[in-house]
């Protein structure tokens, strides 16, 4: 059940066998670890740089890729402005697309 691209191939079955092998190795490594985890103790508390956290505090979804979004902020702000939500802009960009399409077809 593999598919070929002319250059390579993709076989989900081969991949699944390899993935199971990797998982087995990972599990074997995990078994070598220390068994000091105790349920219901302070070990279950979230650890954030040793700070005492208020009740119910955690890492929210918006925090997850904060650095990533921060690094791309200039680009994302421009893209946000591009997606203005104004129908006039939508129509304007459709005209741009139309002109490009016609020009490309005309020039061959």
């Amino acid at each position: 059940m593999r598919i070929g691209s002319g250059e390579g191939f993709w076989s989900p079955i081969v991949w699944a066998i390899l993935a199971l092998g990797v998982l087995a190795i990972g599990f074997a490594i995990w078994l070598q670890g220390r068994r000091t985890y105790k349920r219901g103790t302070e070990q279950e508390e979230p650890f954030l740089s040793g700070e005492r956290l208020p009740e119910g505090a955690g890492v929210g979804a918006t925090h997850l890729y904060w650095g990533f979004a921060e690094a791309l902020k200039p680009l994302l702000m421009r893209l946000g402005a591009f997606h203005s939500g104004f129908l006039g802009d939508y129509v304007g960009w459709l005209l741009v697309l139309l002109v490009i399409s016609i020009l490309v077809v005309m020039l061959g």
Binding site: A69, D89, L97
Partner: protein, 509 residues
């Protein structure tokens, strides 16, 4: 089954108009009617696909005449309704059948009576009929008519929640864009009709030589269809529409957008395939596809509204399809061009399954919690267990994680695009990685974390609809070769080498 092509369109169309009358008599009878219509449409649609794939030849059905060319006068080509279903049309029909049936089944328990269930179900059937007509029709004017049917039904469904502020606004914007796109298509049809005195795709394809007017018609068609396919920079209606439409409609809207990709393939390879399918057009489509992938994924990063986040993810997948179509045009006649088209066409059904599943889960979340704002969600995995599993599966498939179905089609797209342009391939791969980050964030934000509220799971009917899509994701992912060989490869052959067969099936000889 001789009349299967027209019945697959007529039954949901007539069923949609009869449904409100039945609803006046009895609500249970209305639901049974909707299920019956869906089943009968499935039977006829699958019969059409079965006939086409089994025979390997296009299926031609002429309304009111024994053959498309039959005429009482000599010369020209009669103006009449002709349905032509080749392997590509049959494949696009299967996508539409799947989306419509699942959307309808899901809607039975998703839509509330006080929120206009009868209207929603009728519109869904109407949209379904329009899409099937769009992919089965063999002439340009009927193509325009079905395009308008889908536009009207789609916009009514997008604005379904009239008691909220955003859905009507999204519907209005989408209607404006669809109307302009439809006008471009209509002007193009008018130009070709004025030039050749014909509307039949096969007959026009035989006559088109690449005149200035032909080029103008192709440019207008490209503009209209690329907009409807959600290509940047005319994609902005899509996140509005997908984000605000009720869940059962969104999956059919995705099929509707994919019908525009089908139309793009039909126009470039069949209608203008003999004269104007130049590498320049291929590069245009491929470049727009790549920009669409990148822009949509970046916009998904900053979304707080779960529906809009997945909507941008859906737009990015349309970009992958456009990229594949573009590479297929650029490299027509070469091996990797065929691989690109296989990847792009296979990605259509994979995208429907993964994006459709995500939207159905979002519908279940909205129904349970009443909000899809990422900042107000969290910990839903404690109670919505099936939904969380389905969301994770759909998200991983959308991001192209092996061994799910999204990876199989993206693998073909990446490999073929790399041969055409390594830069475009690199952007496509990087965007997919970024999309993974986005969907992981969404999953974390909605389902993980401490339990915040008690909510009930979705009704069984909604879970079954989601389950069907989940099974497709896994099965298509584990056995891609089986489906590519039986459904995708014939569709690609219908485009590359099948133009002559398409013309011969309609025109004879």
């Amino acid at each position: 089954m001789v009349h299967a092509p027209i019945l697959a369109i007529a039954i949901p169309l007539l069923g949609a108009f009869a449904l409100p009358i039945l609803a006046k008599l009895n609500r249970r009878a209305r639901d049974l009617w909707a299920v019956g219509i869906a089943l009968v449409t499935l039977v006829f649609g699958l019969a059409v696909a079965g006939q086409v794939f089994a025979s390997g030849k296009p299926l031609v059905y002429t309304l009111g005449a024994p053959s498309p060319t039959a005429s009482v006068t000599e010369g020209g080509f009669p103006i009449r309704i002709v349905l032509v279903v080749d392997a590509l049309g049959a494949f696009a029909g299967i996508i539409a059948l799947l989306a419509g049936a699942i959307g309808l089944f899901y809607s039975l328990q998703y839509l509330a009576e006080e929120e206009g269930k009868t209207l929603g179900t009728s519109l869904l059937l109407l949209l379904w009929a329009g899409i099937l007509g769009l992919v089965y029709t063999g002439d340009l004017f009927n193509f325009f008519v079905f395009l308008e049917i889908t536009s009207i039904a789609a916009c009514a469904l997008i604005g379904y929640r009239v008691w909220e502020s955003r859905p009507p606004e999204a519907a209005f914007k989408t209607m404006a864009m669809y109307t302009l796109g439809g006008l471009l298509v209509l002007i193009s049809v008018g130009i070709l009709y004025g030039e050749y005195d014909a509307l039949n795709i096969a007959y026009l394809s035989k006559l088109i030589t690449g005149t200035l007017l032909d080029k103008l018609a192709l440019g207008l068609l490209l503009g209209g269809l690329l907009m409807k396919a959600g290509a940047v920079p005319a994609h902005m209606w899509a996140p509005d529409a997908y984000g605000e439409a009720p869940a059962m409609a969104t999956i059919v809207l995705v099929a509707n957008t994919q019908a525009a990709i089908y139309a793009l393939l039909r126009v470039v390879f069949t209608l203008f395939g003999g004269a104007l399918a130049t590498p320049g057009i291929g590069w245009l489509i491929a470049s727009l596809g790549t920009v669409t992938v990148l822009v949509a994924v970046l916009m998904a990063v900053v979304q707080r509204h779960l529906g809009r986040l997945v909507a941008y993810g859906a737009v990015s997948q349309l970009g992958y399809m456009l990229l594949a179509v573009g590479v297929g045009v650029v490299a027509a006649g070469k091996g990797f061009g065929e691989v690109a088209l296989k990847g792009g066409i296979f990605h259509m059904i994979n995208d429907l399954a993964s994006v459709g599943l995500l939207f159905l889960v979002i519908g279940a979340i909205r129904r349970a919690v009443g909000s899809v704002d990422l900042l107000s969600l969290g910990g839903l995995g404690h109670t919505l267990r099936w939904e969380s599993g389905f969301f994770l599966l759909g998200a991983l498939a959308l991001a192209g994680i092996p061994p799910l179905n999204g990876f199989a089609s993206k693998f073909l797209i990446y490999e073929s695009t790399f041969k055409a342009s390594p830069i475009l391939a690199a952007i496509a791969v990087l965007s997919s990685i970024l999309l993974l980050a986005v969907v992981v964030r969404a999953f974390h934000g909605v389902f993980l974390g401490p339990k915040a509220r008690d909510v009930g799971p979705a009704p069984w009917g909604m879970l079954v609809a989601m389950g069907v899509l989940a099974v497709i994701i896994v099965v298509f992912g584990l056995f891609p070769g089986f489906f590519i060989e039986r459904m995708v490869s014939p569709a690609v052959q219908a485009l590359l080498g099948g133009r002559a067969a398409y013309l011969a099936a309609v025109l004879g000889g």
